[in-house]
């Protein structure tokens, strides 16, 4: 089994942010921001040194918690510091982006890394639909078409036109061609049947995030079944699980940290006004939405959302056992972990990475 560092590149003073999304750019001090990215890259370099296999980057917008709105830029910078490790962009939020631009970024990254790239296709969380003003009702259709178009753009040796539902390009001729032929490994991050099936039928990998082992197994069972129907068996690198982690020297120390976190009453991970959150969800699902039925425009900032739980918590042996469950029950081959929790500073992240590399990685290698 492989270990991946989810490089959040968080703004180091993120614990001072208000419970809002978007976080106003006024909270971004350039001096702190520059230092934060340097610290994030130091974490990546350490992860490579202590034996992690992948470093992943993710597209998130309008907040300093994961301030990598252009993940390919961040991946390119880290790839220059970390020369051996797999660089995973997990991933681009396809409904938001120009698919040809995504294909060009992926092809360029695969060249810059000499074939170390893993690409990820995602729809994104509901709040991200507000970025670039994409209609939430069109997100799924855009995602499905984008995947087809990006794969075509990466593999077609002749210039072509694309006549889509959401995208029309009369000249597509992506340069450079990817180093990995026909295209770099692709992970489709999803919980939805149609995209799980798409991944299986197109021999792509699967990514699942932040669910319990039972919930994850429901998804991976479907994926395995549909892969079999499509005539192939996914390998360990094809199934990625992303879960948050806090690892300490002992279970007691980890639990102590967690209890402290709970006492501080952490706010929602992606806080939005209830009106906006419900309007987006209604648009995504085609359900009814009545603004008058909600508390609109409350001056108290009536935000909704859930605080992100911790998927892996404990000392090294406990964490290794928790990870093993995902491997044994769900066939997960790559575990992708954000170490930058809300109340964990850079120094503590570095200590955790050292500990994880020393005590956990040797155990999960055996899975």
């Amino acid at each position: 089994m492989k270990a991946s560092l989810f490089a959040g590149m968080g703004y180091s003073e993120r614990h001072k942010f208000p419970f809002t999304w978007p976080v106003p750019p006024a909270y971004s001090d350039p001096e702190v921001s520059v230092r934060s990215y340097q610290e994030g890259m130091d974490e990546c370099a350490l992860a490579e040194d202590v034996g992690f296999d992948w470093i992943s980057f993710s597209e998130h917008h309008y907040s300093g918690r994961i301030p990598t709105g252009t993940p390919a830029v961040m991946a390119a910078a880290v790839a220059e510091r970390c020369k051996r490790i797999t660089i995973a962009v997990l991933g681009h939020l396809l409904p938001l982006n120009n698919p040809i631009r995504v294909a060009e970024e992926l092809a360029l990254l695969d060249n810059l890394t000499n074939g170390r790239l893993v690409a990820g296709f995602l729809r994104g969380t509901p709040n991200e639909d507000q970025v670039y003003s994409v209609n939430p009702a069109e997100g799924r259709g855009r995602l499905l078409e984008s995947m087809d178009l990006i794969l075509k753009a990466l593999t077609e040796p002749q210039p072509f036109s694309w006549e889509g539902r959401y995208y029309q390009y009369r000249t597509v001729a992506v340069w450079p061609r990817p180093v990995q032929q026909p295209f770099p490994p692709v992970i489709v991050g999803t919980r939805s049947d149609d995209t799980i099936r798409y991944a299986a039928e197109n021999r792509l990998g699967l990514g699942v995030s932040f669910l319990s082992v039972e919930e994850t197994a429901v998804i991976t069972d479907k994926y395995h079944k549909w892969c079999e129907e499509a005539g192939w068996t996914p390998g360990p690198d094809n199934i990625v699980y992303r879960g948050s982690i806090y690892v300490a020297e002992t279970d007691e120390l980890a639990n102590e940290w967690f209890e402290g976190l709970m006492k501080s009453k952490p706010g929602p991970n992606i806080p939005m006004r209830r009106t906006v959150a419900e309007a987006i969800q209604s648009a995504r699902t085609g359900g009814p939405f009545d603004l008058r039925g909600l508390v609109a425009g409350s001056p108290e900032g009536d935000v909704v959302g859930n605080a992100l739980g911790i998927n892996f918590l404990g000392g090294p042996d406990t964490v290794a056992k928790q990870i093993r469950e995902f491997h044994d029950r769900c066939g997960i081959g790559v575990i992708d972990m954000p170490f930058q929790q809300n109340k964990v500073d850079h120094k503590a992240v570095m200590e955790e990475l050292e500990l994880f590399g020393r005590e956990v990685i040797p155990q999960i290698r055996e899975f």
Partner: protein, 259 residues
């Protein structure tokens, strides 16, 4: 749009055709069953179109005279020359596109622009042996609900066309046509459905490589019968190409939201 039916004598055949619209002439060699579509209506709004029924196809009599696809192309070219004295845009779909390819090779001075919709001359998939008309019909669409909007060929017409095309050696890869693609010098567009189950959309690149002035277009979420699965997308690309030829790649849509 109202189409007027007529017949024209050409190379020993009486060829049935349907005519509508005004303007520059467009000759269409349609796959049987793909006439009277949104594409025909849209073209007739701008052009003088003639949709030909190739001898041996559709409701026409059994054609035991023609021996090759090239023979059919000769008949189509003769009919077109009788119907219009001008150079014309030639549009062929499926097997009709194979005939159109031959026609453009044989009659380069008549064909002003060539549009091939789901041509099957290059690298077609192996067809299922002894498929029924209904099975063959379903294979043409990416989505079954679209197949149900079109009538499959009658068993009689299906059997006649299957036997005819086999006799013309029109089933399978046409190496002779491929070798002559470089002789086509008019602007040419080849359009494929991304999910075509009868001919791989990857064959599009062969046209792009070998025809000097060629564009290829891939229609997302469409099967072999693009006009059945994504009619608006087909109309959009065909009309744009008929109007602008290779410059159809130049964008003209405004991006202004609030001037």
């Amino acid at each position: 749009m109202v189409f007027t039916e007529g017949t024209v004598d050409a190379a020993g055949f009486s060829v049935r055709y349907w005519e509508a619209g005004q303007g520059r002439p467009v000759i269409m060699l349609d796959q049987t069953g793909w006439r009277n579509t949104m594409l025909h209506d849209a073209l007739a709004e701008k052009y003088h179109i003639f949709s030909l029924e190739l001898p041996g196809m559709g409701d026409s009599a059994v054609n035991s005279t023609s021996q090759t696809v090239g023979d059919l192309a000769t008949v189509a070219a003769a009919a077109a020359t009788t119907l219009t004295s001008e150079k014309y845009t030639l549009i062929g779909s499926s097997f009709g596109a194979n005939v159109a390819l031959c026609q453009a090779i044989q009659s380069p001075h008549q064909v002003e622009a060539l549009i091939l919709v789901s041509p099957m001359a290059i690298l077609p998939q192996e067809s299922k042996a002894n498929a029924s008309s209904q099975e063959a019909h379903s294979m043409m669409f990416a989505h079954e609900e679209n197949a149900q909007k079109f009538n499959p060929l009658s068993a009689e017409v299906f059997a006649k066309e299957t036997e005819f095309m086999a006799r013309l050696s029109a089933v399978g890869h046409d190496a002779l046509v491929e070798a002559k693609l470089g002789d086509i010098h008019c602007p040419t567009l080849a359009i494929f459905g991304k999910n075509d189950r009868l001919v791989s959309s990857e064959s599009a690149r062969v046209y792009r490589e070998k025809i000097p002035n060629n564009n290829i277009a891939i229609v997302y979420d469409a099967g072999h019968c693009i006009v059945g699965d994504r009619p608006e997308a087909l109309v959009n690309s065909v009309i744009d190409y008929a109007e602008h030829w290779e410059t159809f790649i130049v964008g003209h849509k405004t991006g202004v939201i609030n001037p």
